[in-house]
């Protein structure tokens, strides 16, 4: 397939792996902070192509995994309302809230619909004027512009039965928290899709303030291996910077138009990340002009939150622990019966480990 096969060329991959083996003269730990990278790294068997002293660990890059249980609780509570429809991305269906998953709420009769975009949720609102449609807005800079454009559309059409339960987040503050909390890494594999929107400039503070290597990369095996090699070179030369490997999609300034939409609709706000707690200014709140679309206007009863005993999703999201370190992993917590959020999504660290690694 054009634009795919070229980046999966076995010979190019072998050459890159050889180069890495030659240049990797010490121990290196790099963190990827995008769920898409986590999934690609394991799907293509990248660790099996790297020398053992080049370690890749996963950070908080799966939007489903970092979505708080309270968001799920609010969704299921809203969905049980008489004239309410909740529209969400498929990945959220099986994420455990405190009491139940959205899938379980649907089985109990709640009107929960799967959508592929915010626009699809707005269309539901147009088609069902008698119902209040709540869109579960999750994701990073990748999905936030879509929500922003949709909210602007609803505003200009004067639609009054469309609402957003907002859990959007932005990535750079979370990366900073991880560094402040002392996770030991040599550099970041920076998120490619996020950077398409933000531009690589969003990560400049990392080499400047923390002296760590950064490479923005794509999602194909040659992309990821090239990025690992570039990171190793930055470390070896003690010259940390933000390099763009993913030049076919990413620029320094990013997608100015999308940034404009986000800025029009949202303002920075504190937000809770599952496993990381509240991170200042890492979330996006609807600005006053658009505040009436906020599903927070509906009063819902939220149960006392309770974390499953022994679940270490928080440590895994910070890169402090790896999935097999969790005593629930592959025993009590499996993709069929996820206890923690990292096991739910296809891009979650635990789910990926379960799928692609040895376990008993």
């Amino acid at each position: 397939m054009k634009y795919v096969d070229e980046f999966r060329n076995r010979r190019h991959i072998a050459v890159l792996a050889e180069l890495i083996a030659k240049e990797a003269t010490r121990d290196y730990t790099f963190m990827e902070v995008c769920g898409g990278h986590t999934a690609a790294i394991h799907r293509f068997g990248i660790p099996s192509l790297l020398p053992p002293h080049v370690r890749l660990i996963s950070g908080p890059g799966c939007p489903v995994c970092v979505t708080s249980a309270r968001h799920i609780d609010a969704l299921t509570a809203l969905a049980s309302g008489e004239d309410m429809t909740v529209a969400l991305f498929g990945d959220l269906m099986r994420v455990p809230g405190t009491l139940m998953t959205p899938a379980e709420a649907r089985a109990e009769g709640a009107d929960v619909r799967l959508v592929l975009s915010a626009h699809e949720a707005l269309e539901l609102a147009r088609l069902n004027p008698e119902r209040k449609v709540v869109f579960s807005a999750i994701g990073f800079e990748t999905t936030a512009p879509g929500t922003a454009v949709t909210v602007m559309q609803a505003y200009s059409e004067g639609i009054d039965n469309f609402f957003v339960l907002n859990a959007h987040k932005v990535m750079p503050p979370a990366m900073e928290v991880i560094l402040r909390e002392g996770t030991q890494i040599d550099g970041f594999i920076c998120p490619g899709h996020v950077a398409v929107i933000t531009g690589s400039a969003a990560f400049e503070f990392i080499p400047r303030k923390y002296g760590l290597a950064c490479v923005v990369t794509g999602f194909e095996p040659t992309d990821i291996l090239s990025a690992v090699m570039m990171l190793i070179r930055q470390v070896n030369r003690s010259r940390p910077s933000v390099e763009i490997q993913y030049r076919r999609a990413v620029s320094v300034a990013g997608n100015i138009k999308a940034q404009g939409y986000m800025n029009e609709v949202f303002e920075p706000a504190d937000v809770e990340w599952r496993g990381l707690g509240v991170i200042p200014l890492s979330g996006l709140r609807l600005r006053d002009t658009y505040r009436h679309f906020d599903a927070a206007v509906f009063p819902v009863y939220l149960p006392e939150s309770a974390r499953p005993n022994g679940c270490i999703c928080g440590d895994i999201l910070r890169g402090v622990s790896r999935p097999p370190d969790c005593e629930l992993f592959a025993s009590l917590c499996t993709p069929d019966h996820p206890e923690g959020a990292c096991m739910v999504s296809d891009e979650g660290s635990c789910n990926t480990w379960y799928k692609y690694h040895s376990h008993e």
Partner: protein, 335 residues
Amino acid sequence: MSEKITLSHGSGGRQAQALIRDHFAARFGMTGPMTDSALLAVPSSRIAFTTDSYVIDPLFFPGGNIGKLAVCGTVNDLAVSGAVPMYLSAAFIIEEGFEIDQLALIVSSMADEAEAAGVRIVTGDTKVVERGKCDRIFINTAGVGVLSEELMHISSGSSVREGDRLIINGPPGDHAVTILASRRNLSFDTPMRSDCASLNHLIRKVVERPSAVHFMRDLTRGGLAAVLNELAGMTRCGITVDESSVPVEEAVRGLCEILGFDPLTLASEGRVLIVAAADEADAIVERMHTDHQGRGTAIIGVITAGGDGRVILKSTTGGSRFLEMPSGQLLPRIC
């Protein structure tokens, strides 16, 4: 406006009799008196017996419809067990208000597919439920086939051994992608068609030498990944699949790239996995290539010793990983 199914079509009264006579019995070639059971002769003391229900949405899709699927699916379940499919039942649960023209199209496809597969639909049932109590039409088919002693080993995989080759008859996932695309109104440069087809004629060619074939299963829900894991679990053998040798349609690959699916986990309705003795595999592939349903046949992997029931995928990139049993429903990725 076309005629619609009403509750009285399921009442057992005059309308019900007329529906059965004009739309089912006539089309399925049931000429004898209406009895409670079909009385059948089978030329063997060993039969294979299976049943499946069909609730697909949309009812009509490129390459088939719920009726064709209901025949193919059950014929294939019999055929991959090594049996020669002979008789089917067909039971319909129809929602009040369903258009009789649509029903006629569905029944017609069933009759055509049964004829092509060489099976007879010999008994059936119709129920009509109130509007909203089912989604337009559900179909159940059961099937009976006859089985020779020398093919009894196929469904259990008990003869599978180290060195056996894995063969599939074409690219997997076309059915799933076609359904997904119809549901989401996605279109492709090259139009996708479901692979929905009866495989019993192809499979007759495969089992020409019964001892050469050690296992067969059709690649329905869960796709190749599910079938390989079931086989590995049943036999405790290892399985190694070479990803680059698995044929996949461009459109399927494209959609999988966009939505984050793995083609190896997508359902087909006209694809079969065959495990064959190493020294017979090439001859089987050659015979399969002569059949319309076997033109895309390829050898994709091998049975290994001591894999302890795990499936290893050698990826196109040169790395390798476990190919796991798919879990949950297919979820599109969100970023």
